[in-house]
Symmetry: C2
Subunit: 426 residues, 2 copies
C-alpha cells in the first residue's frame, strides 16, 4: 500500500509563521526555501503548514469589535480561519508556479478534527489519508494551521494561541516526520531575552522539558501547548529564522529534542522573565488549615490560576499568605478574596503589580546541586530582594520588584553563561 511505503520514507514538516508569510515578497521567499529543500533532499517528503499573514488576525479582530460587543466564539472562528485560508492558497500558487506539485488543504480537507471548544479547540484526530496520497505522488500539501473542524457539528474551530505550531507538530506526529521545522522571525531559542541582555546567545539545542519550562516562564518563541505536544509525541523541532539563510549552528536554528538525544546537558539553559503576574498578599490570616483551604477553594471555584505561593507565620496563630495570579485575573481574584475576608479572618488584602518573575532553567539541575544557592548569592550581591521563590526539578523562579527585572536577568545570565564559559576556557 502506498501509505505504508510513505511512512518508511523520510518526511519533514515545515511550518511558517505569520511574519514569514507577512506579504507577497515573503511568501515568494518561503516558496524559494521550500524549493531549495526539495532540491537538496529530493527523496524526502515535505508537508508545509502556514499561519495567517502577519497583521491579518489583528485586522479581522478589529473588524469583529466594530460589528459586535462580544462576538460569538463560533463566528470568531469562522472569521479568523479565513486568514490561514488566504496564506495556504497563495503559497500553493507560488509553489505551483515553481513547478512543484503543491495543493492547499484547509482543516476539512486535511481532516483535522477537534472538540467543540471554539477559539481554543483541541485536536482529537487527523485522518491523514488525503495528505499521504499526495505525498506518495511526490506532491507537497500546504496545510492551513490554527484551524480544525468540530467532530460533532462540522463547524470551523480554531486552536487558540500557538495554534499553527500545534497543527505542525500534530501533523509531524501523525506522519512520523523526522523533524518539524518552525520557521519564525528570530534565529531560535536564546539563553535570555536579547532585548534585556546583550550577551544573550543562541542555543544550539535544548530539551523538550527545558523548552516547556522556558516557554511557560517567558520565552516567547514557542507556545507551551505546542512544546507539550512535541514532547508527548517525541517530535524533534528546529526553531529557525526565515530571514537568516539556511540552518547553521550558532547562527540560525535551535534543535528542541528529547532529553536522551541531547548531546550535552547544560547546567543552565536559559534565564527567562515574565511581567504579566500580580501578587496578592493576605495578611494576618488565622493560621489554621481550614482558612487556608477556604482561600484556595474560593479561587479554584472561579478558575483563578495561581502560580506562586508563599506563607510567613507570625507568632502561633497568624499567617501572611502571598500568591501570584495572571494580570488578567487579578481584579477578579482580589474581589473574591476580599469577599472572603471574614471567613478567612484576615486583616488586610493588598495587591502589587510592579513585580517580575525571573527564572533560571536547565535540565542539568537534575544532576547537579548548588544552582539555587548561586542564584541567591548573585542576587544578594546585586542588592535585589527576593519576594517569592518557586522551584521544580529543572527550574528556579524568583519574584522580584519589577524595577530589578533587567538587572536580575543580567547578573544571573552572567553568572551562568559568561562565568561558566570563562571557567571552561580558563
Amino acid at each position: 500500500m502506498r501509505s505504508d511505503v510513505l511512512v518508511t520514507c523520510p518526511l519533514v514538516v515545515m511550518k511558517f509563521g505569520g511574519t514569514s508569510v507577512g506579504d507577497v515578497d515573503r511568501i515568494n521567499r518561503v516558496a524559494d526555501i521550500i524549493v531549495e529543500h526539495r532540491v537538496r533532499n529530493p527523496n524526502e517528503g515535505i508537508v508545509v503548514v502556514v499561519s495567517a499573514m502577519a497583521g491579518e488576525t489583528n485586522r479581522l479582530t478589529s473588524l469583529a469589535k466594530h460589528c459586535a460587543n462580544s462576538p460569538a466564539p463560533r463566528e470568531m472562528d469562522v472569521l479568523l480561519a479565513s486568514g490561514e485560508q488566504v496564506s495556504v492558497a497563495l503559497l500553493a500558487m507560488a509553489l505551483q508556479d515553481r513547478g512543484l506539485k503543491a495543493r492547499s488543504y484547509l482543516a476539512p480537507q486535511a481532516r483535522i478534527s477537534t472538540n467543540d471548544r471554539h477559539t481554543n479547540a483541541q485536536i482529537e484526530g487527523i485522518e491523514s489519508q488525503a495528505l499521504k496520497s499526495l505525498l506518495a505522488d511526490n506532491g507537497i500539501p500546504v496545510v492551513a494551521g490554527f484551524q480544525g473542524i468540530c467532530v460533532d457539528s462540522g463547524d470551523i474551530t480554531t486552536l487558540g494561541r500557538g495554534g499553527s505550531d500545534i497543527t505542525a507538530v500534530a501533523l509531524a506526529a501523525v506522519l512520523h516526520a523526522r523533524v518539524c521545522f518552525i520557521y519564525t522571525d528570530v534565529a531560535g531559542v536564546f539563553s535570555t531575552d536579547p532585548r534585556l541582555c546583550k550577551d544573550a546567545r543562541l542555543l544550539p539545542q535544548v530539551s523538550h522539558e527545558e523548552m516547556l519550562e522556558m516557554a511557560s516562564l517567558g520565552a516567547k518563541v514557542l507556545h507551551t501547548r505546542s512544546v507539550y505536544f512535541a514532547m508527548r509525541y517525541k517530535v524533534p523541532l528546529v526553531v529557525l529564522s526565515t530571514f537568516l539563510g539556511a540552518l547553521q549552528p550558532g547562527r540560525n536554528g535551535t534543535f528542541v529534542v528529547s532529553e536522551e538525544e541531547l548531546m550535552e546537558k547544560a547546567l543552565v539553559t536559559g534565564v527567562t522573565h515574565r511581567l504579566d503576574e500580580a501578587q496578592i498578599a493576605v495578611s494576618g490570616m488565622k493560621a489554621d488549615i481550614k482558612s487556608l483551604a477556604h482561600l484556595f477553594e474560593v479561587l479554584a471555584e472561579e478558575d483563578i490560576y495561581i502560580d506562586m505561593i508563599s506563607q510567613e507565620f507570625i507568632g502561633d496563630d497568624e499567617v501572611n499568605v502571598s500568591l501570584t495570579v495572571p494580570d488578567e485575573q487579578s481584579e477578579r481574584a482580589l474581589e473574591i478574596i476580599r469577599n472572603s475576608v471574614e471567613t478567612l479572618r484576615a486583616n488586610a488584602v493588598t495587591i502589587q503589580r510592579d513585580i517580575a518573575k525571573v527564572s533560571v532553567v536547565g535540565i542539568g539541575m537534575r544532576y547537579h546541586t548548588g544552582v539555587a544557592s548561586r542564584v541567591f548569592k548573585v542576587l544578594a550581591r546585586a542588592g535585589i530582594d527576593i519576594k517569592m521563590v518557586n522551584t521544580s526539578e529543572i527550574k528556579i523562579s524568583i519574584m522580584v520588584a519589577r524595577k530589578y527585572c533587567k538587572m536580575a536577568v543580567s547578573v544571573l545570565h552572567e553568572e551562568f553563561f559568561t562565568v561558566e564559559v570563562a571557567k571552561q576556557v580558563g
Copy 2:
C-alpha cells in the same frame, strides 16, 4: 416534521452585495435592515446571503498575481472564498449582537454542492436540512454567497461572476421563498443607463424574460446567470438599494417576476447598450454555402462567441459577411479568419472596434408590432447609420458607430418613454 411545517411558512431570502457590506458601518446598517424586516414580519423566515466586502476580491486577486504568473483555478477558489467567509462571520456577529439567533454558513455547512469547474462552477444541489432546522427555530442563517463544495473532491469552488446572486436565487428556489431581495448600490432596474440619459426612470417591475435580455444586453444590475436561474425556478426578485431606505415603488426597488404576474406589459421596458464587442468584416467572399459553413465552423472550433451576423450579396457570386464577437476574443477571431482567407476565397478581412450595440427590450413586442419601424425611423431622423440589426421576440438590437451610442440611447429612450407617457397623459 419540522421542515414540512417550515415549507408552508412564508420565507424571504435577503442578499447583500459587496458594496452593501463594504465596511463595518455598512455591515451594521445591513444588520439593522434585517432586524427591521424581522420586526415588521415576525412570522416570516429570513435567510441572508452575503458577498465579500467590496474591494476584497480585487485585493485577493492582486495578491495572487504577485505569487504566481498563472494561479491555479483550484487555489484561486480557496483564496477568493475567504472573502465571503469574513462577511458572513461579521454579519452573523452583528445580528447576534442585536438579539437575533443568527448563524453563519459556509458552503460546506450549507451543503451547496457544485461540479468541479473551478472559478466557474455550477450548483448541482443544496441539502437544506441544516438551514431548515435553524429556520424552524426562528433562527437566521447567514450564508456565504459565491462559494460551493465540489461533490467529487470536497474542494472549495466558486460560482464565477454574479455568483452570490446565484446562491441567493438557488436558496430561494430550494426553500420556496416568496421573494428574493437583491440589495445592491442602485435603486433597481432603470429604463436606461442614468449616466447616459438623464431621463432614465426606475422601473417598478419587469419580467424575468425582459431582465434576462436586458442583463445580456448591457444592464449591469443583475448577471444573466442569476436571472436565468430565477426565471427557470420562478423565483420573484426584488432589486433595491441598501442605502435608500425601505422598498418604495418608484423610489427604491424593482420587482422581477414571471410574465404572467406582470401587472402591465409595457411595450418597451428598457434601452440598453454595450461597448464590448468588435465587428469583423469579411469582404468579397465566394457566395456559396460551403464557404459560409467553413467560416462559422472554424470559429466554433475555437469557442468564439458570435453575437450578430449580417451578409450582403454583391452580384451573383460574392458576399460580404460581417459578424460581431466579444472584445476579448476579437484578436483570436481575426487571426482564425485570416488563416482561412484562401479557403473562404475572400478579398479582405477587417476589424472595427469603435462600435456600440444599442438594444430596445420589451415583452410588449410579443403582442404589438411596429417597434422595429419606430426604431429605424427615430435613428434615421437623428442621422445615425445602422450597421447591423438583430432581433428576438422581445428585443431589437442595432449596431452603430460608437460615437453615436449616447445619442442613439437618448433618442430611443425619448421615443419609447417620454413620448409614450406624453401620449398617455395627452
